[in-house]
């Protein structure tokens, strides 16, 4: 049973209602996004990026045990 860690920030955490949780048996980031869209339909209307283990990804990415996936709204530091 494969476990991954989820992190959500900013307005994404407002939608998910949690900033830090775990999910099981998610093959890859495309599957993760589909699951999140079904759980939190408001995410479909929201711009965000994914980071896997602190690296931004730009296409589907296979997930492994204990990977950390972060849901990142557009950055607004400075």
């Amino acid at each position: 049973m494969m476990k991954i860690n989820l992190l959500a920030f900013g307005q994404i955490a407002d939608i998910t209602g949690q900033a830090n949780w775990q999910l099981q048996d998610i093959m890859d980031t495309d599957a993760l996004i589909q699951l999140l869209y079904s759980q939190y339909p408001a995410l479909k209307e929201t711009e965000f990026s994914l980071a896997v283990n602190k690296k931004l990804i730009h296409s589907n990415c296979v997930l492994q045990q204990e990977d950390t996936v972060a849901l990142l709204p557009p950055f607004s530091g400075g």
């Binding site: 920030f9 307005q11 980071a51 602190k54 709204p73 950055f75 607004s76 530091g77 400075g78």
Partner: protein, 147 residues
């Protein structure tokens, strides 16, 4: 990549003028420096739908942000002939008029310091996972959008 150690970046609350002057004073024995280029981001009292921004509350994906700041440092030292580089960013509440970003670039010559500082500020805004929650006069909040 002159400096490999982890650098302090995040400051809880605003970056004060005294903090800035202490940083400047610490560079007066580095006599190979001829130019400092400094950028300060100050929280602007923007008006959004007739409400003023009274403060911005900053949060970050800290671990990833620190890696990004290290990468920005290393790229700056590789691209420009710098003596020193320090970056400080606030976390938590920073009121309108207070400073939330302090980029401090020192070089032998002005052109290198100025060009590096501008490049670093752009990268921080685009590449570092930090978010600002704008607190408005009527207690509403809005997530900041960088231009």
């Amino acid at each position: 990549m002159k400096e490999k150690k982890k650098h302090t970046v995040f400051v809880e609350g605003p970056i004060t003028p005294a903090f800035i002057s202490a940083a400047i004073a610490r560079h007066q024995d580095k006599t190979e420096i001829g130019a400092h280029s400094i950028f300060l981001g100050q929280v602007r009292k923007d008006i959004l739908q007739a409400q003023e921004v009274v403060a911005i509350e900053y949060s970050a994906y800290t671990e990833m942000a620190l890696e990004k700041f290290t990468e920005i440092r290393e790229k700056a030292f590789a691209a420009f002939n710098l003596v020193c580089l320090h970056i400080y960013h606030s976390l938590g509440m920073v009121k309108a008029g207070e400073i939330s970003l302090f980029v401090f670039v020192s070089a032998k010559h002005r052109k290198e310091a100025i060009a590096a500082c501008e490049d670093i500020v752009e990268r921080i805004k685009k590449e570092v996972p930090i978010w600002g929650k704008e607190w408005l006069t009527d207690q509403q909040i809005r997530w900041k959008i960088n231009s």
